[in-house]
Symmetry: C2
Subunit: 385 residues, 2 copies
């Protein structure tokens, strides 16, 4: 199942009235409509309205780059910040700048599919590094890193597993990278979505000269604005700007002005706690539903401390891909884990998103999924049970 | 002088208070601020506001794709339309889909620099085809087309020369392409900016199966919204969507909703005549200023029938690149023609933009430029005059 097969599936699902625990869409009730509307009005009524509608620098608006630099938890100069059309574009620019045909890129097993897809379009060879519940395994990284162009990581509440890499693991991964001179692409779209405590410091804070860091406004404001950013060491920055200019000249000036206007008065200090609370409540709803309906069937799942996803392993003998059509037929959808693995896949794994559906839908969806699992178990040949 | 050297130059110019006839920025007084503000308000106050802020299909909003298909002067199905982040992105997607390292891409001599820059980032080999005041020469194209991946063209008021390719030339170029099975990338950011009569039909209308066509909302609404589109034959469409998804998932949903809202009630029927009138007035102002100040110095220039640019040749013995620092010192800037040529450059050529400056600035700028030319001529050794 490729990324486009998943897209096709999601399209079908959206037309069927199925409860979708599949898509990675932020909770729409968290979008700050009033703040965005007020910002649009301020921008378009200001004497600078025509500037907001004109071409603008490829690097992004200076004031927004400054805001990003100042918001990060390590010393970043605004000249290192490049505003991108969503953080997906940051991945694309890095791929263009660093990948030649056949270049090795290291990814976690599993790892974000949208990133792997970008690396594949540039004809990279993906090498997958083993991970556990604390994140990537430093020994396996050390064994596979020789000659790689870069290591791709989502240390915070990664898509698809929801894993937050522990501080110790970050330290150890950082040491391997430093020793081998390995470039890290640290992708952080979910880092602000922590529940009880912020994630450990980014790898970029320890290894600013080795790390390209990306962030996004999609999860903290709204994905429909398509704004993200990257932070690069100065030695790579100009190359990335060159590719940015070729890609789309610059990200929408209007959206940059509007988002800056929203951010300016400390809006996130009020908004983010509400989003965190909302997402935590939804995670709790899904964990409660899993406890209620799935317990005793032999499935296992994790308990993410932030982000949007739970990673579930079906009971032995079941395949998440094979089960999906039956689940959709019953009225619930998820994303099978297989496509997220560059190497050997865990056929039993699947991704559940808890942020788009309502709490009632989450409970109903998990109940349906448990029923499908139950029936699939009963249909297994006796010796496989 | 590379594209980034030009950008650096433009940056310096904007800080110096120099009259810029250099940048290719649409006239800011033509931006429809009121219509955009009203559209933002309608979108964000509608029950669908959250949809406008959410992730959306990589292909673009169905209703906007339909609008584009219906607006084009040949039968296009909305399933062939892909909404892009400015038409620059359309060039980037085509480059990724069709260019391998060393692939030959045919471009006019001269041709749009931003396109050549994209093709270069994908390591294409540019081969330049001779052009005259009616556009590309079919015989030269036929002589050079063997084995080329595609032919890049801006038939309408092209950047940098302002040339509109004649109907006969389109016919002849189309015949060469059809005979050789050559793919055409027909880039049309300026086509709506005609003055007295619309340009001849696009090549895509004759050769829909051979042509990828691009258009833009940057010149008819505002570049800061970063919206454009491409129309592709179905056999290429899915590949382009795959690269679009990798590039930035989709173009900003919010901007697509807002632009659709602006377009919906026939806004362009009222707006475009005003833009055409404005641009024609500015072209007339520059032609008048050239007549007034530059006549008799041995320079020559064309008289574009649409778009944003005049192409000027300096008197014999002068180089546009060498003259630029003196011009900037005197207080006027232009873009030298050299970087637009993939092959042998015309050192005497330069591009003048008449749409960003006011009419008073245009007159003052051309007067300064004439003075610089005059002085440079006087400084030439006698035998070179």
């Amino acid at each position: 199942m490729t990324s486009s097969a998943i897209r096709d599936l999601l399209k079908v699902i959206s037309q069927l009235g199925v409860i979708s625990l599949a898509g990675g869409l932020p909770a729409p009730e968290g979008f700050p409509i009033d703040a965005l509307l007020a910002a649009c009005e301020r921008v378009l009524r200001s004497p600078d309205a025509r500037t907001a509608l004109q071409y603008s620098p490829s690097e992004g608006l200076p004031a927004l780059r400054r805001w990003v630099a100042e918001s990060l938890p390590w010393p970043v100069h605004e000249d290192q910040v490049l505003i991108t059309t969503g953080s997906q574009q940051a991945l694309d620019l890095v791929a263009k700048a660093l990948i030649d045909k056949g270049s090795v890129v290291l990814v976690g097993s599993p790892s974000y599919l949208g990133a792997q897809q970008v690396f594949t379009t540039m004809q990279a060879k993906m090498v997958s590094v083993a991970c556990d519940a604390d994140g990537m395994l430093p020994e396996d990284l050390a064994a596979k890193a020789a000659g790689a162009r870069f290591l791709y990581l989502q240390p915070n509440y990664e898509n698809p597993t929801g894993t937050c890499m522990s501080a110790e693991r970050r330290e150890a991964i950082g040491q391997v990278a430093a020793r081998l001179g390995l470039v890290i692409l640290e992708d952080n779209p979910y880092g602000d979505l922590w529940y009880r405590q912020p994630p450990p410091a980014p790898l970029a804070a320890k290894l600013p000269e080795n790390t390209i860091y990306t962030g996004s406004f999609s999860k903290i404001l709204a994905p429909g604005m398509r704004l993200g950013y990257l932070v690069a060491p100065m030695k790579l920055y100009q190359t990335l700007v060159k590719f940015k200019q070729a890609a789309d000249l610059h990200s929408a000036s209007f959206n940059q002005h509007v988002v800056l206007e929203v951010l300016r008065d400390g809006f996130l200090d009020r908004h983010l706690p509400a989003i965190r609370e909302l997402y935590q409540r939804k995670r709790n709803a899904m964990l409660a539903a899993l406890d209620r309906h799935m317990r005793g069937l032999g499935a296992s799942w994790n308990r993410p401390s932030g982000g949007m996803f739970i990673w579930l392993r079906l009971p032995e003998g079941l395949s998440a891909t094979a089960l999906l059509p039956r689940a959709v037929e019953k009225g619930v959808a998820y994303v099978p884990g297989t496509p997220f693995f560059a190497g050997d896949a865990d056929e039993r794994a699947l991704r559940l998103s808890y942020v788009t559906a309502t709490e009632a839908q989450i409970d109903a969806g998990i109940a349906l999924l448990a029923k499908v699992v139950q029936e699939a178990l009963e249909a297994l040949p006796t010796e496989a049970r």
